[in-house]
Structure formats: structure tokens, C-alpha cells
């Protein structure tokens, strides 16, 4: 070899000063949004009340008291009382337990099945992809509530069947989103670099594709939590939910609809409670989406 020019290797200066670590910057950004904080606080409150309703109310949700029937909202009874004199606030909070649990089960089913379907079809592509996606298309083609109703009718009434029915209804969205993300990440050079480095497909899938694909899916999960709550409330409104005297939110709203003129709070206040929760979840999901962009 002839004259070799040997230059000193200079480390190129980083173009920008090191940013504050990502997580801290994100948190700082979030704290500056008051609406986000309110929404997050409300969701947190409902979640806690779902598992520990006793922390926020002293009344037994099932204790009837004819003397105190149909009381309007006041200091004693925050949401008033129903026709049997049961405290409505306490019933809403104890209803949280059932509805939130059903929502979590539904999201769990949708998450596991949707992620699974999406990953398998995005990853293996080809004929597997075609078959799975046509199946998902069929699910998408049936109106959500109709699908849920048929499933509940087949499985029987109760909180768990309602959760399963709603979960199956939101699987397609998860599957589609996951598949799109997997298809995007799969072609990126770092996946190829890992393959060229001798990594097995299982390793590539678990360590590279999954962690980089689940961001939008997580956002969708928050958004779909709102959808699931409404679907569960709808089903229990129609009477497919838990058996009386236990009450889900939908049941509470349904019970009050005969007394709308005389005791408006029976339907309205549980309704507002649910609406606020769903709006909060939507706002959280929107905020996360903006951040991840």
C-alpha cells in the first residue's frame, strides 16, 4: 500500500446541547396544561373510587330508607336519593366498581387479541395477513352495539358477558392499528441491522418491533376506554348488565328515566358523571397523541 493519509480522528461536536431527559421534559409540558390535570385528576378519582368506594361515601348503596326517598341533591346526600331512599352518590361510586372492572376486562381482551392479531398479521404478512384481516373486516362490518347485543344474548346477562361483548367489539381497531405500526417498523433499517447482526425473528419482534409499535396502540387504548364505558353503560341501560340490586351506571340512568320530571337528578347526575369520565379520557388520549407527535 502506498502513501496513506492518516488524519486524527476528531469526535464531531454534538450539534445541540444535551436536552433534559425526555421523561422530565414531557412531564413539565403536561403540568403546564390545566385541562389535562383536571381530566387526569377526575379519571384518577373514578379509578380509586371504583376499587375503594368506601373512602368517598359513608352510605350503604343497598340500604333502603323510605323516609328519605326521592330527596334532591344536598349536603347530606350529594346526588340525592332514589325512590327507595338509597343514597345515589354511594350507588354511583359502587357502580364504578362494576363498570370500571368491565371496562378493564374489555380493554384487556381487546388489547391481547388485537395486539396478537395485529402483530401476527403485520409480521408474517402474505396469506396469514389476508385471512386475519378479512376476519377483522367482518367484525368491522357489523355495527358495534349489534355485535355486542348478539354476544350478550348468547353468553347470558351479567357484568362479565357484557365486558366480553364490548371487548370483542373493539378488537378490530386494535388489530388494525397494531398491524399498521408493525408494518411500518418492520421495514426500518434498525430491524434489518438487528437481523444482519444475527438476531432471531422472535428477538427482533420482542425487542425491536413491539416496543416501537405499541405507542399509538396505547393511545388508542385510552381512547377506547371511553368507547368501552359508553358501550357497557348502554348495554346495562338496556338491562343486560348486573342483576339488581347491584347497579352499574347504565342501570342507574335507566332506573331514573321514569322520574325525569319529578326527580331529574336520578338520571342526570349519573349521566353527567359518566360523560365527564369519557370526556376526560378523550382529552387524555388527545394530549398523549399530540405529545407522541
Amino acid at each position: 500500500m502506498t502513501a496513506q493519509v492518516v488524519e486524527p480522528v476528531v469526535v464531531d461536536a454534538p450539534t445541540e446541547t444535551r436536552e433534559i431527559s425526555g421523561l422530565r421534559a414531557t412531564t413539565a409540558q403536561l403540568i403546564r396544561r390545566p385541562l389535562f390535570l383536571i381530566a387526569a385528576a377526575w379519571v384518577a378519582f373514578v379509578l380509586i373510587s371504583a376499587f375503594r368506594p368506601g373512602w368517598f361515601t359513608g352510605y350503604d348503596p343497598y340500604a333502603t330508607d323510605p323516609a328519605a326517598a326521592m330527596l334532591p341533591p344536598g349536603a347530606d346526600h350529594l346526588f340525592g336519593t332514589d325512590i327507595y331512599g338509597r343514597d345515589l352518590w354511594s350507588r354511583v361510586l359502587h357502580g364504578s366498581a362494576l363498570t370500571i372492572r368491565a371496562t378493564l376486562i374489555a380493554l384487556g381482551i381487546a388489547g391481547v387479541a388485537g395486539l396478537g392479531l395485529g402483530i401476527v398479521s403485520g409480521f408474517f404478512a402474505g396469506i396469514t395477513d389476508s385471512i386475519l384481516m378479512r376476519f377483522v373486516d367482518v367484525l368491522l362490518a357489523i355495527p358495534g352495539l349489534l355485535l355486542a347485543l348478539s354476544i350478550v344474548t348468547a353468553l347470558g346477562y351479567g357484568t362479565l358477558p357484557v365486558a366480553v361483548a364490548v371487548g370483542v367489539g373493539i378488537v378490530p381497531g386494535f388489530a388494525r392499528t397494531t398491524r399498521a405500526e408493525v408494518l411500518r417498523v418492520k421495514t426500518l433499517p434498525y430491524v434489518e441491522a438487528a437481523r444482519a447482526g444475527g438476531a432471531s425473528w422472535a428477538r427482533v419482534l420482542l425487542r425491536h418491533i413491539l416496543p416501537n409499535a405499541w405507542g399509538p396502540v396505547a393511545v388508542l387504548a385510552v381512547l377506547d376506554a371511553g368507547v368501552a364505558i359508553i358501550a357497557i353503560a348502554s348495554l346495562s341501560f338496556l338491562g343486560f348488565g348486573a342483576a339488581p340490586p347491584a347497579a352499574e351506571w347504565g342501570t342507574l340512568i335507566a332506573d331514573g328515566r321514569n322520574y325525569l320530571i319529578t326527580s331529574w337528578w336520578l338520571s342526570l347526575l349519573p349521566g353527567v358523571f359518566v360523560a365527564l369520565l369519557v370526556l376526560s379520557l378523550n382529552h387524555l388520549s388527545k394530549t398523549f397523541q399530540e405529545l407522541s407527535r
Binding site: M1, T2, Q4, V5, V6, E7, V9, V10, V11, D12, A13, P14, T15, E16, R18, E19, G22, L188, P189, Y190, E192, A193, A194, R195, A196, G197, G198, A199, S200, R203, R207, H208, P211, N212
Partner: protein, 531 residues
């Protein structure tokens, strides 16, 4: 009489309620009909200057001081209404990336005509005029092209359509922001030649923004070198090339292969008189078809052990496909691939896997080649984990050693790719490729996404590693200047075939084919000849 007069311009970006300066105290004048080039690395403020000039600063950008007068109108702090009157009719902009510069849902002719109608021309007349502008911009068969959509046009043609749009407003100044860095060298040369001719004939002033001093020196009447938002040097390109006043300018000249050697391309290695070492990789008669498209046709390539073999050609010539076949990421339709004595053309993934320890890959795009969720340490040790080499502790030690080899501080082990610059990411990618102690590294355009100076550093690093570790490289590039500074032997490819091959010293000084000669002529830096 000056067309553009910038005095004491300060531009900053608002981040977390603080203004981070991007351009500081810039003075710049452009006379009518003058060609001025602003040269600098990424982050030097050259694009910010151009954007500030026409009021197109991205969100958060602020002009904090100074003035920028175009054609007698103050643009610093001017309202949208004032600026709109300037855009198109006084200043035309040719954007950086021709692939995203056109609206994909509109025919090309309409997009040019739209720019014409802004001048107040009626629609039918505007379309006819648009076709003339396309013709002037050097689009062959303009009537056909005007009816086509952007995706039907090649990168070079799209760039010409964008030039036609810029011309359509009959501007007094055209700003070209890295107009050709996304294009092949020969296309780049043709377009820049054409653009230079156009502005000269019409007396339009041209402001070229580029990171490549060689490009600037070839085209401009005046060169402005910028660094860290400040002007470093300004003057006639010949004077600057002959006698640069600043050390920074001297580094830029040294980094442009053609400028450094007085206008000639001098290969770093001359192996004409030396025996060729035994090959580590041999491709013989490799063919590859995608559907009916023949991507490769009878390609034979040999990489001698301990040396660098380059595959050169324009985009679509099959060089990357060749590399992917050599690496077993793609299978050949015909022909044989022998890697270190083993025939690999028909091996399954599983059977090929042990051979991966011998051949590794470095990708083109430093921003996509590292998993954004992996720290530098995790990325580097991943191949070791895949092959279950060593323990956690020994792998960590190896990662530190590798970082040292690629001249990065050990403290970078815990950093994420988003915290690194392009050059640093490419160093990490090289470290990852080195982890398994391979004999052969395949480099797919490893420096084409980097600035000239960083390119120079990475090429230097690769050369050092080759000398210290006895590595062989198969090196894919469209840039002959880069090939000259790294490769021993070269295969020139065109249309899926090898047009010419041999030692770089032979091919570059005495090209046998017309195509190779064209490629070599296209390397920027000709003006240094005249010195």
C-alpha cells in the same frame, strides 16, 4: 444598487421561552444577476438565513435584530401581506427535497400554471406559459410532462419542475436550498449547469445554499462561508480556494477531495502494481429479477481480503441490491455468492446465520439505523447477545472497547440515539458492525447523509479501522469523490450491469467507458483546476 441587503441580522428559535440564536450579526449583499453561495455545515444557520429572508421561518423562529431588505422592501418584521407580494414575483424558492416539493395529487402543469396565475395571467394563457417555463427549466417533452403527476417523474425531472415553478413568477432572485443534494451526481451537475445558464441569461440573482464548498466554488461569483450562525469568510471563490483566510475554510477545502488536489480526483490508494490478495467475497454472474424487472444482470464482483471494493453508480443501478444479495438479505435469481470459501447463494436463513459473524452491515441513514428505544450500549452489544457471546459483564467491557475504537467517549454507553448527532450515530452503527469481529463490513452509502466535514471524519475512521483490524469493505456509493478517498478497487454499475471495474487509480485516471468519465466529470470542484 443591491437586490438583497442584509445588515446585522439576528435570528433565533424560541425554545422553552428562551431564544436560542441561530444566526448572529449577519451582513450579506446580493447584486442583481449575481450568483452567491452560502456554505456551511448543518446548524450553521444557512437555511435559517434563507427562510428569514422570505419570512418562512418555522414555528418559533424570530428575527430579533437587524434588517433584511429585498428589492427595497424591509422583510424583517414585515407582515404576511408585504411578504406575499415578494414571494414568487421577487423571490423564487427551490426547495431542498424534490421528492416532497410537489403536490402529489395535482398534475405538474397545473402546479406551474398556479405560480403563473399569481402574476395575474388568465388561466388558459397561464397553462401555455407553464409549458414554456417547463421547457426553459430543461424538462424534455414539456407538454407530456405537464399532464403527468409528480410520481411519474424522476427526481431530476421533479427538481426541474420545481425550478419551472420558481421561474414562473419571473423573480429577480432565486433561492436554491441544497437544490441537488437528494440527486445523483450526474443529474446534480446537469441541473446546476442548467440553472446557472438560466439565471445568467435572464439576469436573475441566485442564492445557493449548500454544505459542499466544491459545489459552491464551481457555481458562485461570491462564496460566503458560515459557521455557528456567523459569517466566517466571504469573497471570490478563486481567491478563497487559493488563499483561505480562516482555518475553518481550509478544513472545508481539505474535506472536498477535488478541491484539495487542485481540481483532480486523486485516489487515496494505488494498488495497480500490487498483487491482489485472496478474495473474501466473490459474486459470479449474479442476476436478480423482481417480477419482470431485471434489477441485476450477470454481475461479478470480487472483494480482496483487507481491502475496500466500491460499487459505484446512480440510483437504481442495482448497487444496493448487489450488497443485499451478498449479505443474504435478498436471494439471487441466478449466479453464485462465495463468502469466505462458503457458497451462500442458496443457503437458508438458519444456515446462513453462522456466516453473519463474518460479514456485517452499516446502513445509509444514521437516523433510522439505531433503534430509538435502545441505548448506545444496548445497540452495540445486541449482535453479541444474538450470538450468545460472553457474559453480561464481558459484553459491557467489549462495548466500551468498541466505543473507544470508533472514538466516542465511554460515557455515551447510556445515551439514546436522539441525543447523538448524525456522525455520532454512524460511529455507533460502525461499532455495532464491529462487535462480532467480522472480516468483511458492507457499507451502504455510509456517509451520504452527512455533512462534508463529518464525512471526512467517518471515512478517516473507516480507513483507520481497516488498517488496525485488517477489515475488508464492500462499499456502495453514488459519490465518486468518497470512493476515491476510501476504496482500492471499484466496479462501476449502470442499469444492473457492471460497466467497468479495476483498481480505483486506473479507473479514475483513465476511465475506459464513457459512463465512468461522465461520473468523474460530475464530481464538483472543477474550478480548482484554474488555480
Amino acid at each position: 444598487m443591491t437586490l438583497v441587503s442584509i445588515t446585522g441580522l439576528d435570528v433565533g428559535y424560541l425554545r422553552r421561552r428562551q431564544v436560542h440564536p441561530a444566526v448572529t450579526g449577519l451582513d450579506l449583499n446580493v447584486a442583481p444577476g449575481e450568483v452567491v453561495a452560502i456554505v456551511g455545515e448543518s446548524g450553521s444557520g444557512k437555511t435559517t438565513t434563507a427562510n428569514a429572508l422570505i419570512g418562512l421561518l418555522p414555528a418559533g423562529g424570530r428575527i430579533t435584530a437587524g434588517s433584511a431588505i429585498i428589492d427595497g422592501v424591509e422583510t424583517a418584521g414585515a407582515g404576511e401581506r408585504t411578504l406575499r407580494r415578494l414571494r414568487g414575483s421577487v423571490v423564487g424558492l427551490i426547495p431542498q427535497d424534490p421528492m416532497v416539493g410537489l403536490n402529489p395529487t395535482q398534475r405538474v402543469g397545473h402546479q406551474v400554471a398556479e405560480a403563473v396565475t399569481l402574476r395575474g395571467v388568465a388561466k388558459p394563457a397561464a397553462y401555455a406559459e407553464a409549458i414554456t417555463f417547463l421547457e426553459q427549466a430543461g424538462v424534455p417533452d414539456p407538454e407530456l410532462r405537464a399532464r403527468q403527476y409528480p410520481h411519474e417523474l424522476s427526481g431530476g425531472l421533479r427538481q426541474r419542475a420545481l425550478i419551472a415553478i420558481a421561474l414562473a413568477g419571473r423573480p429577480k432572485l432565486i433561492i436554491a436550498d441544497e437544490p441537488t443534494s437528494a440527486l445523483d451526481v450526474t443529474v446534480q451537475k446537469r441541473i446546476l449547469d442548467h440553472l446557472g445558464g438560466l439565471v445568467r441569461d435572464r439576469g436573475i440573482a441566485l442564492l445557493i445554499i449548500t454544505h459542499d464548498l466544491a459545489v459552491a466554488a464551481d457555481r458562485a461569483d461570491r462564496v460566503v462561508v458560515m459557521r455557528h450562525g456567523r459569517k466566517v469568510e466571504e469573497g471570490d471563490p478563486r481567491a478563497i480556494l487559493r488563499d483561505p483566510a480562516q482555518a475553518y475554510t481550509r478544513t472545508l477545502i481539505a474535506a472536498a477531495p477535488r478541491l484539495a488536489h487542485g481540481g483532480r480526483v486523486v485516489p487515496r490508494f494505488d494498488v495497480r502494481d500490487q498483487p491482489q490478495p485472496a478474495p473474501i467475497l466473490t459474486l459470479t454472474g449474479v442476476g436478480k429479477t423482481f417480477g419482470t424487472f431485471r434489477a441485476l444482470d450477470d454481475v461479478s464482483v470480487t472483494v480482496p481480503r483487507g481491502r475496500t471494493h466500491a460499487l459505484v453508480g446512480e440510483s437504481g443501478c442495482g448497487k444496493t441490491t448487489t450488497l443485499r444479495i451478498a449479505l443474504g438479505l435478498e436471494s439471487a435469481t441466478s449466479g453464485s455468492v462465495v463468502l469466505d470459501g462458503t457458497e451462500t447463494a442458496d443457503l437458508s436463513w438458519r444456515a446462513f446465520r453462522p456466516l453473519r459473524r463474518k460479514a456485517q452491515l452499516v446502513h445509509q441513514d444514521p437516523f433510522a439505523t439505531l433503534d430509538p428505544k435502545f441505548t448506545v450500549g444496548q445497540s452495540i452489544t445486541e449482535p453479541l447477545q444474538s450470538f450468545r457471546v460472553g457474559t453480561r459483564r464481558s459484553r459491557q467491557a467489549r462495548a466500551r472497547e468498541l466505543l473507544d475504537q470508533v472514538a466516542l467517549p465511554v460515557s455515551y454507553l447510556d445515551r439514546l440515539p436522539s441525543e447523538l448527532s448524525g456522525g455520532q450515530r454512524q460511529r455507533v452503527a460502525i461499532a455495532r458492525a464491529l462487535a462480532l469481529e467480522p472480516d468483511l463490513i458492507m457499507l451502504d452509502e455510509p456517509v451520504s447523509a452527512l455533512d462534508v466535514l463529518v464525512q471526512e471524519q467517518i471515512l478517516g475512521l473507516l480507513a483507520d479501522l481497516q488498517r488496525d483490524l485488517g477489515l475488508s469493505y464492500l462499499f456502495v456509493s453514488h459519490d465518486l469523490a468518497v470512493v476515491a478517498s476510501l476504496a482500492h478497487t471499484v466496479s462501476v454499475m449502470n442499469g444492473g450491469r457492471v460497466v467497468e471495474d479495476g483498481p480505483v487509480a486506473t479507473v479514475f485516471t483513465n476511465p475506459a467507458s464513457e459512463y465512468t468519465r461522465e461520473l468523474i466529470d460530475a464530481i464538483p470542484g472543477r474550478r480548482a483546476d484554474a488555480l
